[in-house]
Amino acid sequence: MKRAGTILCTTLAMSSFSAAQEQAYVQTLAEKSSYYVQEEITIRLRFGIEPSFLENKLIQPFRRHLDLPVQVEAVWLTTITGTAEFGPSFVLNGDRQVGQSYSDDRSYTAAQVETILRVAEPGELRLSSAVMRYAYADSFVEDLLGGRVPEGRHQAVSTGNELRLQIMPLPVAGRPLEFTGAVGEFSLRIEANPGTIEVGESFKLTLHLEGRGNLDSFDLPRLDRLTDFHLYGQIEERSAAGRKVTYDLAPLHSQVRVFPAIAFAYFDPNEPASYHRLLTEPIPLQVIAAAERPVRVSPPTVDRSLPRENDIFDIRRVPTEVTLVQAGNIPPALLVLTLLAPWLLAAGFWSFRRVQARIRSRPAVEPVRAEATSFKQRITAGNADLGDTLAAYLAARLGCQPAAVIAPDLDVRLIAAGIPRELATRCVATLDDFVEARFGGREAGQDGSSVCALIDLCEEHFSSRRREA
């Protein structure tokens, strides 16, 4: 907050106006020159304009009409209190505001705004000068299109007074023990109707603190240290008028006869400034012992021998916290991934096994081109059985085992695979020749070169069909 100093006299501030500023003025005022810490300080910002000057000379700064066409700047004015619903409008700190009409002794058209400050530390509060800017014209002419148009435009500034206030610390002498920083004027009352209650039974006690002052800046009386009562909890409500706290208390023994008075202390800065101590009325109580309840103690449900059977176990040492996995500490992503992991692995493994099974169920087929080439290479090398290698080649092309090639429907399968009928018949005849030669004990009628040529013809047809596909 700002530092405070000695207040300047209002007349001194007024005498600082220049000639051009005699038609307008701006003032910053406070009721006193010195305040206490946390005391409410009402600051009024007043400004006025000579009526004929306002009517005949001032230029509206914006399209929207202002009752007082001025722009006031006061950097310390952040919150306005007590604005009127219907008052003169003007611009304050860049925003359109509505102030309170004010009648000064010079019959100016004037307005004022108020703000309330509280200073937390002693020293000097210095509020810089407020500045009022406005524009005026030498004269106006009426324009059919633009309306009232100014001629000879001038800018003017009115500077107000700097305000310095002395902020004093709260006196130490006479400060009650219960004082927690309340400054202002307050009243205290208590509400409770406990009636007859048992030991440990809760009852509600409501404390109402009302008044004017720094309501939000101090602690209310604490009831958690009463020796005869236990405080379960408290709920506080705050409003502009005051604070209300509801305590939930319970007596600790049946010898309690009264709830003691609650003390609250505050400092009233009004003359003569002094501390005040408020006491609530003690509240009579009738506390009875809690009804005896039979404590049926069964043997413990755990399967071990215990040192006590009708009393709780002893306390235990409290170690330093180690990394414990507590309820709900597993990150959600980790939880989902860990639960899905077995299924993902199973799905991957199952897919792998299906692929393997599909491969195993198909005959071992080498790329057929390589099969044809290797057949011819074996023929050329002269160490191949022509019939077996021809059968192996046809098996590779038909997608079956070599033993399945030699069958009555070989020609049909060759034709279905794309071999022309004549060529298919020739393949069958060649293969039959080799079979008969093997089992008939004679030489085969085909040699390697003719079989190679046969294979080449077959390859041409298989290749052309593959290209067509």
Binding site: G200, H230, T301, P332
Partner: protein, 236 residues
Amino acid sequence: MIAFVLVLLIGLMTASISPAQAERAYHSGHYAEAYQLYQQALSEPDLAMGPLLYNLGNCTYRLGRHAEALHYYRRAQLRMPRDAELEFNLSLTERALGIDPRAPRTLIAVILAFIDRFAPAVLLVLASCLQALGLAGLLLLRAPRSTRRALALALLLGLALGAHLMQAQFFPSPPEAITLASKIQLRSEPHLDLPVTLEITAGETLLIEDMSDRWAHVVHSTGSGWTERPGIGLIW
């Protein structure tokens, strides 16, 4: 100078509350003092919360505040789910409050209560292992029918555990609370002007469905309604 050093030492000593001080106070019979010291130790970041809450339960039990003791024990149970001594103290406190701990429960509730005694990480590992075992066995092994049935059962158990963990993670149950005041009053709406619809005695377990800064909507086995928050203690 000496005074300065003494003040500094005192400040250092009181800067962190030692549970040993509270332990000495408890064993000397100064339960209120031990309670205060353990309460202050709650704000120490390096101390294990489970034993701390357990000891607070003991202190309040000794002070005759059984509802508060039950509250602390239930909170400690979240952190020490398989502690036999804690369970015994809890059951003894419930008996002191006149709460029947042997209320009949469904089989599923019993099973779920047994499962919740284990840490979530342990349950997660168990669920994954059961699922992995079941899947691996069913996919890889050419086992007899009885073995395959056992593997399928393991898979189902793993799935059930996984579903329970997912439900706890993404659809958690409403929080629970304990009635701390000797009697709390429930109303149909959160207004003191309304008539009381139900009264619940100390130590009863409540489910919290809704909460504001002053009121809580609670559900009890005998009914539901709004009650003021100071009379209940959340189990967390």
